[in-house]
């Protein structure tokens, strides 16, 4: 008998019932809710005359549509406003705790879950949002669901699922100066492709992953979905346990010892067998910049825009050509030479305090380049924003010409007023460079916070390893 993987352990602890056909009813400990994927689920509940199974398992916030300026005036776009008000009303009607737009704890759903201790090791965490994989950084089984499943969780506290396969991505070695969790995960996606993790839960392991802070680990798991995996996972260690001290939803003093004993068993056994294993040496990873319209279209900063003519596979060649045309790039162009129009520092990938500190360290005492029309920093939550202000980071940013905004998803997907104009090019710390993601015709290059900040100062992409 082989040992168990972390994923096996989490799965088994949540099986309510196994069916002969290989599906299982899985219990959901935490359900995070936001305004975009929930209204039709609440409506479905009402139509069927059902009520939420366990109200205290739900935590809601408005993040996708909220403005990042002028919140006192409310939301001006009537369609956005209706969606946010619908969430407020649903939470009120069903008794669900919500951090509404003007609550100091409001923020991106994947930032506030851990911040509140509403995400805990050993939990199953779901949300109608694919980046729920973020919460796997804490040894929780966390994955995104669709709206039908949101309704199912609300009504039954369970989901009917089939177990995924196990994949392990081991990242060993020392992480070089100027290289971050974002670069590691982009490099992994570049290596295995955006469908490389489809059908798997990916456990990220190895000395480089262990050396990351909890913020860095969240960045890595956040982008597991960009590799096709619904869930990303990282084993619990001291850093994980320490993270939860004093958080509002964390175990009480009396239960702490029992809880942490359970949490510390949340790792793969020595003799666990994975269906697929990949090894990466962190020491050889340079800062990454995407050049195309899929996160797997990524190269090192000291590399060049690739040439589709050299791609043997016809479907891939066609995708590359389409991407280059959309991005307005010519094969062979050094990444350094690509000038940018806007900088976006934010999103559930990179909007936590560590990310803001890293970006601030780069811009301190400098000014954004003349050709940069807008550089904005959007903290992941009200609490991150307050912390950054206590540290004076807001002054560092505004002093350098960056705008300091209110928390939310903002230009990660541009559902609010923050967006790129057609043809504008952006250095973005978000997770998706799809066509039109940051605004119709907008061109997104995914990078780390330090790389985005440096690009804002230089006006084009630059290697932060030379930026001391």
């Amino acid at each position: 008998m082989n040992g168990k993987t972390l994923y096996d352990k989490l799965w088994e602890a949540h099986v309510v019932r196994s069916n002969p056909d290989g599906t299982a009813l899985i219990y959901i400990d935490r359900h995070l809710v936001h305004e975009v994927t929930s209204p039709q689920a609440f409506e479905g509940l009402r139509l069927a005359g059902r009520v939420p199974w366990r109200i205290d398992a739900n935590l809601a916030t408005a993040d996708h549509n909220v403005p990042t300026t002028g919140r006192r005036q409310g939301i001006t776009d009537p369609v956005s406003r209706l969606q946010v008000e619908t969430l407020d009303q649903n939470c009120l009607d069903f008794g669900i705790t919500e951090f509404a737009m003007n609550d100091p704890r409001q923020g991106i759903v994947h930032v506030i879950g851990p911040e509140q201790g509403a995400t805990l090791p050993g939990m199953t965490v779901v949300c109608g949002d694919s980046h729920t994989s973020t919460h796997g950084a804490f040894g929780a089984l966390a994955f995104g669901i669709g709206t039908s499943e949101v309704e199912h969780v609300l009504a039954t506290q369970c989901l009917l699922m089939k177990k995924a396969k196990n994949m392990r991505v081991r990242v060993d070695g020392e992480i070089p100066f100027g290289v971050t969790a974002k670069d590691i995960v982009l490099a992994v996606i570049g290596h295995i492709g955006t469908a490389g993790g489809t059908g798997y839960a990916i456990e990220f392991a190895g000395s480089a992953i262990r050396s990351l802070s909890m913020e860095g680990r969240m960045t890595v798991c956040n982008m597991a979905i960009e590799a096709g995996a619904r869930a990303g996972l990282i084993a619990v260690d001291d850093k994980t346990v320490d993270y939860f001290h004093g958080r509002p939803y964390a175990p009480s003093e009396q239960q702490w010892d029992r809880a942490q004993t359970v949490w510390r068993s949340l790792h793969s056994d020595e003799d666990a067998v994975f269906d697929r294993e990949i090894g990466v040496n962190a020491g050889t990873i340079p800062p990454q910049v995407t050049w195309g319209t899929s996160p797997e279209m990524v190269v090192a900063i000291d590399d060049r825009v690739p040439d589709p003519a050299r791609e043997a596979d016809a479907t891939r060649r066609a995708s590359m050509r389409g991407a280059l045309e959309y991005m307005g790039l010519v094969p062979g162009t050094p990444m350094h030479d690509i000038a940018i129009d806007k900088v976006f520092i934010g999103s559930c990938t990179n909007s936590r305090i560590e990310d803001l500190r890293a970006a601030a360290a780069v811009v301190k005492g400098r000014r954004i380049a003349r050709n940069v029309k807008l550089a904005m920093v959007v903290p992941g939550s009200g609490l991150v924003k307050a912390q950054a202000e206590r540290e004076g980071l807001d002054k560092v940013f505004t002093g350098a010409g960056f705008e300091w905004r209110e928390p939310g998803c903002s230009m990660c997907l541009a559902m609010n007023a923050d967006h790129l104009e057609p043809g504008e090019r952006c250095a973005s710390t978000s997770n998706r460079n799809f066509e039109g993601r940051q605004g119709a015709g907008g061109r997104t290059h995914l990078v780390s916070p330090a790389m985005a900040a440096a690009a804002g100062i230089a006006g084009h992409f630059v290697d932060v390893r030379n930026w001391r």
Partner: protein
């Protein structure tokens, strides 16, 4: 959920790999609080020449003549032929809602993103998986023959081409059962209320901190 048993319809080719759900239904339409009405905005940014916003009269917008679904030969298509990793990206269920609202009931592709695949099944949109060579052959046949129709029989798990060739496909037996009968999955789960309660009671004892209210 809408039942699915059999269907015969025009097949349309979506000849791109990694089509993401942002492309299937752009974000500005996600502000709707309804489940219906997304059809006119399926593939919005590829389909129209202008930039679309909710509330516009989409029937008056200029169509992009180069976009495949705008070609008259694919009008009324109900089978979408697609490439690898279809439906990747965002978990938005608006993607299958839009595809169905447009008129698609079947997608055929070599692979799908996991969340999208589940979302299709929960709405009565049948995502068929065939190997890449088979899908390639279907693409060639669709391009070659105007009015190319496929017949899909979920009970038999077959797709029949105009020349009478039968192609078998696999599908999970439980999913097949739900689709054929249009079952409400929540009602099925609620048949196990006692088991859920028993599990919950046990977990409350073992790990009471999982049931905490905030202590702020």
């Amino acid at each position: 959920m809408q039942k699915f048993t059999t269907l015969t319809g025009i097949a349309a080719p979506m000849d791109r790999a990694n089509v993401d759900t942002d492309a299937i239904i752009p974000k500005q339409y996600l502000k709707s609080i309804k489940r219906s009405g997304f059809g006119p905005n399926l593939f919005d940014s590829w389909r129209y020449l202008d930039h679309g916003e909710p509330g516009m009269d989409h029937s008056r917008r200029a169509l992009n003549p180069d976009f495949v679904l705008n070609q008259p030969r694919y009008a009324g298509a109900s089978v979408l032929l697609a490439r690898v990793n279809f439906g990747c990206g965002s978990s938005r269920e608006h993607a299958p809602w839009a595809l169905m609202d447009y008129g698609f009931r079947v997608i055929i592709a070599p692979s799908y993103a996991d969340i999208f695949y589940q979302n299709c099944l929960k709405n009565g949109l049948l995502p068929v998986v065939l190997d890449e060579d088979m899908v390639q052959r279907l693409f060639e046949e669709v391009y070659a023959q105007e009015g190319y129709r496929l017949s899909v029989d979920l009970g038999m798990q077959t797709i029949t081409t105009p020349s009478g060739r039968n192609i078998h496909f696999d599908i999970d037996p439980f999913r097949k059962h739900c689709l054929i009968n249009g079952l409400d999955e929540i009602a099925l789960t609620l048949e196990h209320v006692d088991e859920i309660r028993a599990y919950e009671a046990q977990r409350r004892k073992e790990a009471p901190w999982l049931f905490h209210e905030a202590r702020s």
